[in-house]
């Protein structure tokens, strides 16, 4: 029951086109084990199933690609953006939204949920008692959204980028898996959304749009960034993937360097559709366009000596290894 070379190549090409993941020769067993259940469901043998992919509907192809692609999703991906959120952006936005009492966050390519739940952990640990947060988490695939809503992760999944302190503070064991705490789950709403469509209702204070623009051409990227700009507060923040930038793509953004990462804020008065008045910040901190009293331009944040992602409250004894 070994897959023919032609069939293997067909699947490898499909996967590479859709996900940039390379299936090199030697991984035939991988394709067989992953696609056999799908072939069985379809009531045909594997070769027949793969042959049928030449003329299959898009949703069938998506199913195949999803079955074949490794889950690369990790928690607090790349680390530095979440540090920047904790140390700079969340405190800044909290100050600016005291009158509102709430921050709104959009996780725009949320996949199986690690990103929005990572954000929820950051917010739970840094928001003052008077502030709440709402996270809207969207993805194209209803399948991954269902997984995300279940808020359950395997041991292998929680091993990826989750500081042990966070694990014990924010998750609990359920059978062989780990489940996100209820108070964090309540912060997140998952819904299906196509980035080519009108965004979920804003305004948002924070948008995470990470590692998804790469799948689109330049014109489409611009359109997506336009739509994000429309629902982001003028003093809000956009966070992209580690290797991504708005430079050369969309000129409505200002790049701000915070420690080892860059975030993006709407440039000046480029936004025309958010109906908030453009007045100087009132001392009472009402819901105007705050932030005008804050320094603009590059910020530097001093690195402190503790581990990345270590929460302020800790079960660790004080003292010990200085890092």
């Amino acid at each position: 029951m070994t897959l023919s070379a032609t069939s293997f190549q067909l699947v490898a090409d499909l996967v590479r086109r859709r996900s940039a993941i390379q299936l090199t020769p030697g991984k035939e067993y991988l394709v067989e084990s992953r696609l056999l259940p799908l072939a069985r469901d379809a009531g045909v043998d594997l070769e027949t199933y793969v042959a049928s992919l030449r003329t299959a509907r898009p949703d069938v192809l998506t199913e195949v690609v999803e079955a074949m692609t490794t889950n690369e999703t990790s928690w607090f991906r790349d680390g530095a953006p979440y540090q920047a959120m904790r140390r700079t952006e969340i405190p800044r936005l909290v100050e600016a939204r005291r009158g509102v009492g709430r921050l709104r966050v959009w996780s725009a390519a949320c996949s199986t949920g690690q990103e929005p739940y990572s954000l929820a952990m950051c917010l739970a640990e840094t928001l003052p008692p008077a502030m709440s947060a709402e996270i809207v988490a969207t993805d194209l695939s209803e399948q991954v959204l269902e997984r995300a809503r279940s808020a359950r992760y395997t041991q292998l999944e929680v091993n990826r980028g989750m500081p042990a302190q966070m694990l014990v503070q924010h998750l609990r064991r359920v059978g062989t898996e780990w489940e996100i705490a209820d108070e964090l789950r309540r912060m997140v709403t998952f819904r299906a959304h196509n980035l080519l469509d009108t965004p979920p209702p804003g305004p948002f204070d924070v948008v995470f749009l990470r590692n998804v623009l790469i799948y689109f051409d330049l014109a489409t990227k611009r359109g997506i960034l336009d739509r994000v700009l429309r629902v982001l507060r003028p003093d809000g923040v956009l966070v992209l993937g580690a290797a991504e930038t708005t430079l050369g793509v969309h000129d409505g953004w200002e790049r701000v360097t915070i420690d080892r990462t860059s975030v993006y804020r709407p440039l000046g008065a480029a936004v025309t559709t958010i109906p908030t008045p453009r007045e100087p910040l009132a001392a009472t901190g009402t819901d105007g366009p705050p932030g005008t009293t804050l320094p603009r331009g590059p910020l530097t944040v001093h690195r402190t000596g503790h581990h990345a992602g270590t929460p302020p409250t800790s079960v660790r004894p004080t003292g010990g290894a200085a890092r």
Binding site: Y29, Q155, T176
Partner: protein, 164 residues
């Protein structure tokens, strides 16, 4: 009192994760065994004892050549590299250790894990029943994971002899 607190799908999930992470690298090649079970020739068995709310034993059974290939996968050896008996016991035993350790964490109270042991057959434990039986196919070869439970709740204390 229930005889077991582990479900078959949990045993399966654990086995899949162990193989995905440590044997096959990222994606698992472990499938449910399809069809009749062949008799195992030159069988090798690895087991760990679990002591907790219930006492039990996690057992892995396969044929020696399959276990050798498992060891090669774990130790990153070439297909034609010889696997020493000591390496074979250590590697196969470690798989049983990790499977057993994860099963232990399903027990309601924190339990303890014995040292892994490897042999040609498992010494029987009086009074134990086979609570879960999971025949699997690893690259087309039979590997069985069994979970035995001692419903009395007392320790199965087999010898924990056999240093690694």
């Amino acid at each position: 009192m229930t005889a077991t607190t582990v479900e078959l799908d949990q045993v399966h999930a654990i086995a899949q994760e162990v193989f995905a992470a440590m044997v096959d690298g990222d994606l698992g090649l472990l499938l449910p065994w399809d069809g009749a079970l062949p008799a195992l020739e030159d069988a090798i068995v690895a087991w760990v004892d679990l002591h907790g709310a219930w006492s039990g034993r996690a057992v892995l059974v396969t044929e020696r050549p399959t276990a050798e290939d498992l060891a090669r996968a774990l130790l990153d050896l070439d297909d034609d590299e010889a696997v020493s008996p000591a390496d074979l016991d250590d590697a196969f035993g470690e798989i049983a250790n990790v499977v057993g350790g994860n099963l232990k964490s399903l027990l309601p109270d924190p339990g303890t894990l014995g040292l892994p042991q490897v042999g040609a057959e498992v010494p029987p434990v009086a009074g134990a029943v086979r609570a879960q039986h999971l025949p699997l196919s690893w690259r087309g070869r039979l590997l069985v994971v069994d979970v035995w439970v001692n419903p009395g709740g007392t320790s199965t204390t087999s010898t924990t002899g056999g240093t690694r």
